[in-house]
């Protein structure tokens, strides 16, 4: 089989960060090729080079045997190479059809021919088995549907080589199965697919071949059926990794740490984002909150953290009611919070690592309003060492660090000090295998030290690996709450999709 894509000796540097160092990738026509690696390994950079979004500093990019090094997105699209991004690039107020034809709208004279757009889009959708209704507004779609629109957009532009960047990060288990169906149909139709992921079970399920990257280099390539998750994990991290984690030791639950009663939060698009939720997290317990994204988990956490107003109900840390407390007062009362979006909330990207490590605790590092720079530096030095933040230079801006190390800054800040209750939202999202292991160990250690941990994760496996009890949210309501022993993918799946 000929190579549809061949990248060799790719070098790319962003400021102080060498994203690719001599990376290579060969993808045969008509295969599903998984590109795996830790966060910061350079997968996305390599694929953005292939899609023409950025230019390599050195190396060669070949598509179907033609040297296309340094091409632009326009050239890539014309040559049938399309990329589906992690963050959707859709206009929510337009319909599916309007989004798909954007940039190449059918028209009669100066007038848009929207009816033809709808017909064309429906046509392409049905050819690949993509179930989306062309006349619906994108803003009303679920995340899974929006992703199908993104794929459809790429196909509509004639893509034969499709790059998907962590497509399952936002999907429920059922939606993932749907996606696999679509990808297999594309492959059967002669399409070539490159799938960026760090989930090894996905690699095993869907790919034909797999390439592993580590620290900007290509370290392994193999046929999927000749390898196994343990071998892949070893290649990604460069050492042995304990997959699946350690079984939790059973403990008697402690006194209540976090008590939420009849909580209601007004909604942005529906009447209530959180609709009468009650639960208690005991000290020394991890309560896992499962659910497809967008079912109120974010609003619930924001309300507990004091970032969104509460319509009714109450929130208490132990015996202390914090329903009306400010963010700073909650922090002082012992609430720690790993927010789901570290780029928007968790970090100030242009601040140094040291300055980020005091965010939310800046008052404790000030005397008479003056920041004690020596103490900030000392605090940063200790945190960088204890949490193994790399590179170990606290004066770098947070922006210069990889995703996993950025998350370590957040973890170090929130878990490095005194706290009694921890909100952990998607603590391992976009983080590599090595860092996941580390973060999970930190969460377990917090539980064993008697902290109450509320864990929200889109990854069921993470919930199942860490939680003492599992709750499920759907449509703003708590639809299930069970001990870990009764929870499984089979029992949670229907609850998450509202089927039960």
């Amino acid at each position: 089989m000929s190579d549809a894509v061949k990248l060799s000796g790719i070098e790319k540097r962003f400021g102080a960060v060498q994203a690719n160092r001599g990376a290579s990738l060969e993808v045969a026509a008509g295969e599903i090729h998984a590109l795996v690696g830790e966060n910061g390994a350079g997968k996305s950079t390599l694929m953005r080079i292939l899609a023409g979004l950025i230019e390599p500093d050195a190396g060669m990019v070949q598509v179907s045997g033609r040297d296309v090094t340094g091409w632009r997105t326009g050239d890539a699209i014309a040559a049938g190479v399309g990329m589906v991004h992690q963050h959707f690039m859709l206009v929510p107020t337009l319909t599916v059809a309007e989004n798909v034809v954007l940039g190449r709208e059918p028209h009669r004279g100066p007038v848009l021919d929207l009816e033809r757009a709808r017909v064309d889009v429906t046509d392409v959708a049905s050819r690949y088995g993509l179930r989306v209704e062309a006349s619906r507004r994108v803003g009303d779609l679920s995340v899974g549907e929006a992703q199908r629109v993104e794929i459809l957009k790429t196909l509509f532009r004639g893509a034969r080589i499709l790059i998907l960047d962590e497509p399952t990060a936002v999907l429920s288990p059922l939606e993932v199965q749907d996606l696999w169906r679509v990808l297999r149909a594309l492959k059967d139709g002669g399409g070539t697919i490159v799938l960026i992921t760090h989930k090894l079970d996905e690699v095993m399920q869907i790919s034909d071949r797999v390439t592993v990257m580590r620290r900007g280099e290509t370290v392994a390539r193999m046929a999927t059926r000749e390898t196994n998750p343990a071998e892949l994990a070893r290649a990604m991290v460069g050492r042995e990794v304990a997959l699946g984690g350690v079984a939790l030791t059973a403990r008697a639950p402690g006194p209540p740490g976090l008590v939420v009663r009849d909580l209601e939060v007004a909604g942005t698009r529906r009447a209530r984002d959180v609709d009468g939720v009650s639960f208690t997290v005991a000290s020394g317990e991890i309560l896992g909150l499962a659910g497809v994204e967008g079912n109120g988990q974010s609003a619930l956490l924001d309300a507990i953290a004091g970032l969104r107003p509460v319509a009714s109900g109450s929130i208490a840390l132990g015996a202390r009611d914090i329903t009306a407390a400010s963010v700073a007062e909650r922090a002082a009362a012992g609430l720690a919070h790993i927010p789901e979006d570290r780029h928007r909330r968790g970090l100030i990207l242009d601040y140094s690592v040291a300055d980020n490590l005091i965010l939310g605790r800046q008052g404790r590092f000030a005397r008479w309003g003056r920041l004690d720079r020596a103490r900030v530096a000392e605090h940063a030095r200790a945190a960088v060492e204890r949490f193994d933040i790399r590179p170990p230079d606290a004066s770098l801006p947070a922006r210069a660090l990889s995703g996993g190390n950025q998350q370590k800054i957040v973890i170090a800040r929130e878990m490095g000090g005194d706290f009694s209750v921890l909100l952990a939202a998607q603590p391992t999202r976009g983080v590599d295998v090595g860092a996941i292991e580390f973060i999970h160990a930190q969460l377990r250690a917090a539980r064993d030290a008697g902290k109450a941990v509320l864990l929200v994760s889109a990854e069921l496996q993470e919930i199942l690996a860490l939680s003492d009890r599992v709750a499920v949210m759907y449509g703003g309501k708590l639809v299930g709450l069970m001990p870990r022993s009764q929870a499984s993918e089979a029992s949670l799946g229907p609850l998450m999709t509202g089927a039960a």
């Binding site: 909330r345 008052g363 003056r370 920041l371």
Partner: protein, 353 residues
């Protein structure tokens, strides 16, 4: 920090304005040629009239002093993510406050007390004018660009009315001379500056620049203010209340602009005169932009724009003064456009090394 890192930082800070200046010089050449003069001769004249003699240099320093104040004011607002277009009105209000105090104090008040009292009044008046748009933004969500612009008209008209109706010396548009609080001119100690308006208020404003740096980068409040400007959501998560920060930032911005009023009232004329701000508040926006919102950059940019402004007068004999104003505009546009472009070029150059 290593020497290489320092070099990188200085390059990143200074190259964009330097290249913008070059672009502006070329545009200036074309303009001068268009009016039939020799660029070399005009530039020589410009430099002679500013840095080439003590009087000219003194005038440059005088203009620099006011521009440091308004430049700092605009840059402090921008650090909090707020665009303060109201420095003009705040500057005027500050000058008026200083004059009121100077008129009220009895003659013979010890200079140190009088100057401090007048400067505090200037800061109070400027700060009050700055506080209003901050409060409007925090309470009602009114956009500060609109409110600060509009407040300029209100403040300037109000001051005009007070002067005309109650305080002016007949046949003029200014108040009587202050009885206390005058700041000595530079020429009092350095006679070479004889005749120029430069006074020791420049020391006050340089101290204000140092204080602004200290506030922004060394205090908790400055840390929070910059956080709100960079990422409001992350600041909120960090327990910072954005509305309070907006109020504080715009008030401090007004305080700095108001302090600039001291330069004219205490250092130069010793009275408040209608229209003395003369656009220095608006030019502060350009100063902040070219100075990249850093206090040290603001001081350098203020010096630069003061040179251009004074130089415009010096070349007036051969080319229209407006030509220099066009040049200022070109420089501002070039700086705004050059910052990302030049950064990209520096990065590309490093890769080739």
């Amino acid at each position: 920090m290593t020497r290489a890192e320092w070099r990188e930082r200085i390059e990143a800070a200074l190259l964009p304005p330097a290249i913008a200046l070059l672009v502006a010089l070329v545009a200036g050449d074309l303009l001068i040629l268009a009016v039939g003069q020799s660029p070399a001769a005009v530039y020589r004249l410009l430099l002679q009239g500013t840095w080439g003699n003590w009087y000219g240099f003194g005038q440059v320093l005088y203009k620099t002093t006011t521009l440091i104040a308004t430049g700092l004011a605009v840059s402090l607002g921008l650090r909090a993510g707020l665009f303060n277009i109201g420095a003009e009105g705040q500057l005027a209000a500050g000058g008026f406050g200083a004059a009121l105090m100077g008129l009220w104090l009895p003659a013979g008040t010890p200079a140190v007390i009088a100057i401090v009292a007048c400067a505090l009044m200037a800061m109070l008046f400027g700060g009050a004018v700055g506080w209003v748009p901050g409060a409007l933004r925090a309470r009602f969500g009114a956009h500060e660009v609109i409110t600060t612009i509009m407040l300029n008209f209100i403040v300037l008209a109000l001051l005009n009315w007070i002067i005309v109706a109650h305080l002016r010396v007949p046949e003029t548009l200014h108040t009587p001379e202050i009885r206390a609080g005058a700041v000595p001119r530079l020429s009092a100690m350095m006679p070479v500056f004889h005749g120029s308006a430069a006074s020791f208020t420049i020391v006050l404003l340089l101290a204000a620049a140092a204080g602004t740096w200290w506030y922004l980068f060394r205090t908790r409040s400055g840390y929070e203010l910059r956080a709100v400007g960079l990422q409001p959501d992350a600041a909120e998560y960090g327990g910072v209340r954005a509305p309070a920060t907006w109020r504080r930032a715009l008030m401090l911005s007004g305080v700095l602009a108001g302090l600039g009023g001291v330069n004219f009232v205490l250092g130069y004329k010793h009275y408040y005169e209608e229209g003395f701000a003369g656009g220095a508040g608006f030019l502060g926006i350009a100063v902040a932009l070219v100075g990249r919102n850093h206090p040290a950059g603001v001081v350098l940019a203020a010096l630069f724009f003061a040179t251009l402004s004074q130089g415009g007068l010096a070349v007036n004999a051969v080319v229209p003064k407006q030509l220099v104003e066009v040049l200022q505009g070109v420089i501002i546009l070039a700086v705004a456009a050059s910052v990302p472009e030049v950064r990209r070029a520096i990065a590309a150059g490093r890769r080739r090394d």
